[in-house]
């Protein structure tokens, strides 16, 4: 079943369109930065953006910071919202179920194919933004490795080896995947509730936007640590020296809780659902 879901994912043009769009945003930002050479003031604008002017090799990290807050969750919500509801409205869900495919396996296969999509999209963004960074800003590669930007590390002049950078990027990718799996779980649950793919995606986005608003609201400080988007940007801590694990661990923990609860709800709902479309 997982193979079938992956085949469906990679045979749909929209997969590539969405990944392409995700790659285009950092490219546009890079072009503006490279032509004007006006860096955002340190501490404002996207993370790493002022640092990339001096070292293009850091641009993949900057690209992640650009894509993560809005673009990536939106595309994950759209795809996950479509996962079950889309099959239901296309009439293919009932034919999968009478094949027979067990409903639990179908859900798991959907989730795995979403994770694969997130990995695919992130890798596409990393590769294209690395190439963009190198060509537009040039890379400062010394044998000592890459200097971490001062606005992130708060300690200027710390350098990490290329292997270290690769390891930190790997950690970043893993953390972002976990964050996006949380989004996918919300949308997947809603997708089993409604037969409208659009409705499920909208619902998931509504949850995320509400969470983003509450994160910035001091009056909501009491529930802040439990909001799904609270620790989304914690992956930046991978680029501190030494790596600051506290937020990363909390963020991953919260996403896991959301994943377990919502996937459980999706499973319970889907297993007892009348497939009447």
């Amino acid at each position: 079943m997982i193979r079938v879901e992956l085949a469906k994912l990679f045979r749909r043009p929209r997969t590539y369109v969405i990944a392409g769009l995700l790659c285009v945003l950092p490219l546009i930002v890079a072009i503006f930065l490279a032509t004007t050479r006006i860096p955002p003031p340190p501490g404002q604008g996207g993370a790493f953006l002022s640092a990339v002017l001096s070292n293009g090799a850091l641009y993949p990290a900057a690209a992640m910071a650009l894509v993560l807050p809005v673009f990536l969750p939106v595309s994950v919500a759209v795809l996950a919202g479509d996962a079950v509801a889309g099959e239901a409205s296309a009439g293919t869900l009932r034919y999968l179920l009478v094949r027979p495919v067990s409903r639990s396996r179908l859900l798991v296969a959907k989730l795995i194919s979403l994770i694969v999509f997130v990995l695919f999209a992130i890798l596409a963004v990393l590769v294209t933004s690395y190439l963009t960074g190198i060509t537009l800003f040039g890379a400062v590669t010394s044998s000592a490795g890459v200097a971490l930007p001062p606005d992130v590390t708060s300690l200027s002049g710390v350098t990490i080896s290329p292997a270290g950078l690769a390891l930190r990027l790997l950690g970043t990718v893993a953390y972002i995947v976990i964050s996006m799996v949380g989004v996918a779980a919300i949308a997947l649950f809603l997708s089993t509730v409604t037969d409208s793919a659009l409705g499920a995606a909208m619902g998931a986005l509504a949850v995320l936007v509400t969470s983003q608003v509450l994160v910035t609201l001091d009056a909501a400080a009491a529930i802040r640590p439990y909001l799904p988007t609270r620790y989304w940007l914690a992956w930046i801590d991978f680029f501190r020296e030494p790596v600051l694990w506290r937020d990363i661990e909390r963020g991953a923990g919260i996403q896991l809780v959301y994943l377990v609860v919502l996937l459980g709800a999706a499973w319970a709902n889907f297993l007892t659902k009348d497939v009447a479309t």
């Binding site: 079943m1 193979r3 079938v4 085949a7 469906k8 045979r11 749909r12 043009p13 296309a90 009439g91 293919t92 869900l93 009932r94 034919y95 999968l96 179920l97 009478v98 094949r99 027979p100 495919v101 067990s102 007892t272 009348d274 497939v275 009447a276």
Partner: protein, 307 residues
């Protein structure tokens, strides 16, 4: 093959299927007849474990559904309320995906099985065009091909000839007859009388969620106690039978009489030429009209329109 007991499905306050006791026997060509909205599709979905019953029991191929539906489904080919396919993929790819999704069915002979199924439904020549470009009839045939990927013991087909032209309907009917001859039990639902009449050996009639008739077609079409006969001299017959002629249309007469043989002998003995004679039987349409209450998509004032 299929047995249900007091099968009921409610959606909120409307009762879609109400106390149905279905009985489909091995080798049957069972036709479920009923107007749109009479609960046929809901009933079919419950048989396949897609919709869960509010009350009642289902047994398909000897196993309880939905509890052990996953053991039952591999032996069933199903077409439920129109075909479903991924529109951006070709017909062959669609079949390959559906085949790979389910258990069983070896990978090595998948291509061969797909080719065979497509040939059976008359789509052997389809190219790489996506299903989006198919006509409704082609999609219907593709759906049938998906149902035939593994040789089914039981075919459950909901409106299988939807969207087909008369020639296509005939082809599909011939295919179903062939499958039935090879041992498959066929259960099909339709709102078209002619389709059921031409194909089925056993008929069930649904009306507003209830199964109001279920019997062999031959038994349903009982003689009406009348004989239709053709003769070049109708006046002589009318004079001879004296009042037993109920209807006269040109050279065809309808006579109240139980036995066409005896009537024939009587007429011939009197020197009347008889060109045709047969016992009049009830048509399926009359059976259905007698059993059902009214068109279910009609919404009269003060009458709750049941689904």
């Amino acid at each position: 093959m299929i047995k249900t007991k007091d099968l009921t499905k409610r959606y909120g306050r409307t009762t879609a299927v109400d106390g149905v006791a279905l009985d489909v026997r091995e080798g049957d060509r069972y036709g479920l007849l009923g107007p749109n909205g009479s609960g046929k599709t809901t009933l079919v979905r419950m048989l396949l474990g897609l919709v869960f019953a509010t009350r009642g029991e289902i047994e398909v191929l000897g196993l309880p559904v939905p509890r052990r539906v996953r053991e039952v489904l591999p032996s069933i080919g199903a077409l439920v309320e129109g075909p479903g396919a991924y529109p951006n993929l070709s017909g062959r790819t669609n079949l390959a995906l559906f085949d790979a999704a389910g258990p069983g069915g070896r990978r090595r002979d998948r291509r061969a099985r797909i080719g065979q199924a497509l040939e059976r439904v008359g789509l052997a020549g389809i190219d790489r065009r996506p299903v989006r470009a198919y006509s409704l009839g082609m999609r219907q045939r593709l759906g049938l091909a998906a149902a035939l990927l593994r040789p089914p013991r039981l075919l459950i087909l909901d409106e299988p000839t939807n969207g087909l032209d008369p020639r296509g309907i005939r082809e599909i009917r011939d295919l179903l007859v062939e499958l039935n001859r090879d041992g498959a039990t066929v259960f099909l639902s339709s709102h078209l009388l002619s389709e059921i009449d031409a194909f089925c050996s056993r008929v069930g009639v649904m009306d507003r969620g209830r199964l109001v008739v279920q019997d062999d077609l031959d038994r349903l079409r009982t003689p009406t106690g009348r004989v239709t006969l053709g003769t070049p001299t109708p006046e002589r017959v009318v004079a001879l039978l004296d009042g037993r002629v109920e209807h006269r249309a040109g050279e065809t007469l309808t006579v109240r009489h139980d036995d066409p043989g005896a009537l024939n002998a009587e007429l011939v003995a009197a020197g009347v030429t008889v060109t045709a004679i047969a016992a009049q039987r009830r048509t399926l349409e009359e059976v259905v009209l007698a059993a059902t209450t009214g068109s279910s998509d009609r919404v009269d004032a003060a009458v709750e329109a049941g689904r």
